[in-house]
C-alpha cells in the first residue's frame, strides 16, 4: 500500500528560506576569511610553482575546494591551515605534472636549438644560483619544504608557522634547520 505524502507549500517555502539564510551566512563567513587567506594560498602555490599564472589557477582551485567543503569544517579557526595545505598539495601536483611535461619536451627537443644563456655574467650567475636553489628546494621533503616556504612568506615568525601548521615549535625549528642545511650543502 502506498503512502500519500501531503506536501505543504508553506512549510517548504519556510525550509527554503532557512536554507537560503544559512547559505548566505556561510558564504559571508567564507568571504571574510577569503580576504585574509586567499593571498596566502596564492603565495604558497607561487612558492612551489614559481609561476604566477599557474599559481593563480591553483589558488583559485584551492579556494573553491575549500568553499565547497566549508560547511563540513567543524573548527573554523583551522581554516587558514586547511587552505594552506590544500593549496600546497594542489601546487605540488601541478608541479609534478609540469615537470613530467617538461621532461617529455626536453627529450624531444634538440640541444643545439636551446636558447643562448644571458650575456651578463652577474645576471647569469644570479640566474644560475636561483635555478640551483629552485632545484634544491624541489628536492626537499614536503614537510620541510612547507615550513621553509611559510617562514619565507609574509615574514611569518616560527611561532606563526607553528600555529598555522598546528605543529609544535620545536618541530618547526628542526624542520627549518634541516631544510636550510640541505639547501646550503647543495648550493655550496
Amino acid at each position: 500500500m502506498q503512502e500519500l505524502v501531503l506536501i505543504q507549500p508553506g512549510r517548504t517555502a519556510e525550509t527554503d528560506l532557512q536554507r537560503g539564510a544559512t547559505e548566505a551566512a556561510l558564504r559571508r563567513e567564507f568571504e571574510e576569511r577569503l580576504a585574509e587567506c586567499g593571498p596566502l594560498a596564492f603565495r604558497v602555490a607561487r612558492g612551489v610553482l614559481r609561476n604566477t599564472a599557474d599559481a593563480e589557477d591553483v589558488a583559485q582551485d584551492a579556494i573553491l575546494r575549500a568553499y565547497r567543503r566549508f560547511n563540513k569544517l567543524r573548527d573554523r579557526g583551522r581554516f587558514k591551515a586547511w587552505l594552506v595545505r590544500i593549496a600546497f598539495r594542489l601546487a605540488l601536483d601541478r608541479a609534478k605534472s609540469s615537470h613530467r611535461r617538461q621532461h617529455r619536451e626536453t627529450l624531444w627537443s634538440r640541444p643545439d636549438r636551446q636558447p643562448a644563456p644571458p650575456s651578463g655574467e652577474d645576471l647569469a650567475a644570479a640566474n644560475q644560483f636561483r635555478a640551483s636553489l629552485d632545484r634544491a628546494v624541489d628536492e626537499l621533503p614536503e614537510k620541510q619544504r612547507l615550513v621553509l616556504l611559510l617562514s619565507a612568506i609574509e615574514g611569518h615568525t616560527l611561532e606563526e608557522v607553528a600555529a598555522l601548521l598546528e605543529i609544535p615549535m620545536g618541530t618547526v625549528k628542526s624542520r627549518l634547520f634541516f631544510a636550510r642545511k640541505q639547501l646550503a650543502e647543495k648550493l655550496r
Binding site: 568571504e31 577569503l34 586567499g38 596564492f42 603565495r43 604566477t52 573553491l64 619565507a152 648550493l187
Partner: protein, 244 residues
C-alpha cells in the same frame, strides 16, 4: 678544540641564524680561516633567504579574488538548486528519454551478422505480423509474417506458406520479408484475408447444398432405328458397282 670541529659548529650556527656563544666568538676572532668560512656560510644563507622571500612574496594578482567570487556565484547551492528545479533544463533530458523509450519499444531493427543460426534463433516478430494474422481454413494455425533482417534477406522476400526454410521447428507457416516490404506484405495479407473470407462463405453455402441427395432425371430415348451391319456393307458394294 680543532678548527674542523669549530667549522661544523659554525655551519650549523649559520643555518640556525643564531648568535655564537662566547667561546666560539673568541675562536672566530683568533682564527681567520674559520672566520672567513663562517662569513661565507652566512652570506650563502642570506642569499638563500632573500631568494626565497622574493619568490614567495610575489605580488597578488588583482584578478584572484574577483574570479573566485564569480565562481562562487556560479557554484552557490541556491543557484544550483534553481537550476535543478528549472523545467526548461529538464526538457532535453525528457526528450532524450522519450526517444530512447521509443527506440526500445519499436521492433529491433539493428543489422545483425547474417548467420543462419542467429537468424534462426533471434527472429523477432513485428507488430505488422500480429495485425495481419490470417487464419487458415484447413487447419487451426496462423500464418505469421516474420521480419528477417540481414544481407541474406535484404533484397528478396522468401514467402514459404508450406514450409519454413530457416526455422524448421513448429508447424506454423512463416513469411520472411525484409523490413521495407512489411507494409506491402501487410496490405497483401489484408486483401488475401478478405478474399479468403468471401470464398469461405461461398464454400460453406455450397457445402450445405451438397448435403441433399442428388436427383438426376432419367434419360428417355423415344425410338431407335437399328439397322443390321451386313446390309450397310451390301449397299456400299452396290453403290460402287453403279459408279463403275
Amino acid at each position: 678544540m680543532t678548527c674542523d670541529h669549530y667549522k661544523q659548529t659554525l655551519l650549523e650556527l649559520a643555518a640556525r641564524s643564531a648568535e655564537a656563544d662566547p667561546q666560539l666568538r673568541s675562536h672566530l676572532q683568533a682564527c681567520s680561516s674559520c672566520h672567513s668560512a663562517f662569513e661565507n656560510e652566512r652570506s650563502l644563507f642570506i642569499s638563500i633567504d632573500s631568494c626565497l622571500r622574493s619568490s614567495a612574496n610575489a605580488e597578488i594578482p588583482s584578478s584572484l579574488i574577483p574570479t573566485v567570487r564569480a565562481h562562487f556565484q556560479r557554484e552557490s547551492p541556491s543557484a544550483q538548486g534553481a537550476r535543478i528545479t528549472n523545467p526548461l533544463l529538464w526538457l532535453p533530458a525528457i526528450a532524450a528519454a522519450a526517444i530512447i523509450l521509443f527506440i526500445f519499444a519499436t521492433p529491433d531493427r539493428r543489422v545483425k551478422p547474417p548467420t543462419a543460426e542467429r537468424l534462426a534463433t533471434k527472429q523477432i516478430e513485428s507488430r505488422v505480423a500480429t495485425a495481419t494474422t490470417v487464419p487458415s481454413p484447413s487447419q487451426d494455425t496462423t500464418a505469421r509474417i516474420t521480419t528477417a533482417v540481414g544481407e541474406r534477406f535484404a533484397d528478396k522476400a522468401i514467402i514459404s506458406p508450406g514450409k519454413n526454410p530457416v526455422r524448421a521447428s513448429g508447424s506454423d507457416p512463416e513469411i520472411l520479408v525484409p523490413p521495407d516490404q512489411e507494409i506491402l506484405l501487410a496490405r497483401y495479407a489484408d486483401q488475401f484475408k478478405r478474399h479468403h473470407q468471401s470464398s469461405a462463405t461461398l464454400q460453406t453455402e455450397v457445402a450445405s447444398d451438397q448435403t441433399a441427395p442428388l436427383e438426376v432425371p432419367l434419360i428417355q430415348i423415344a425410338e431407335l432405328d437399328v439397322k443390321p451391319l451386313a446390309d450397310t456393307q451390301l449397299d456400299g458394294q452396290q453403290n460402287d458397282l453403279r459408279e463403275k
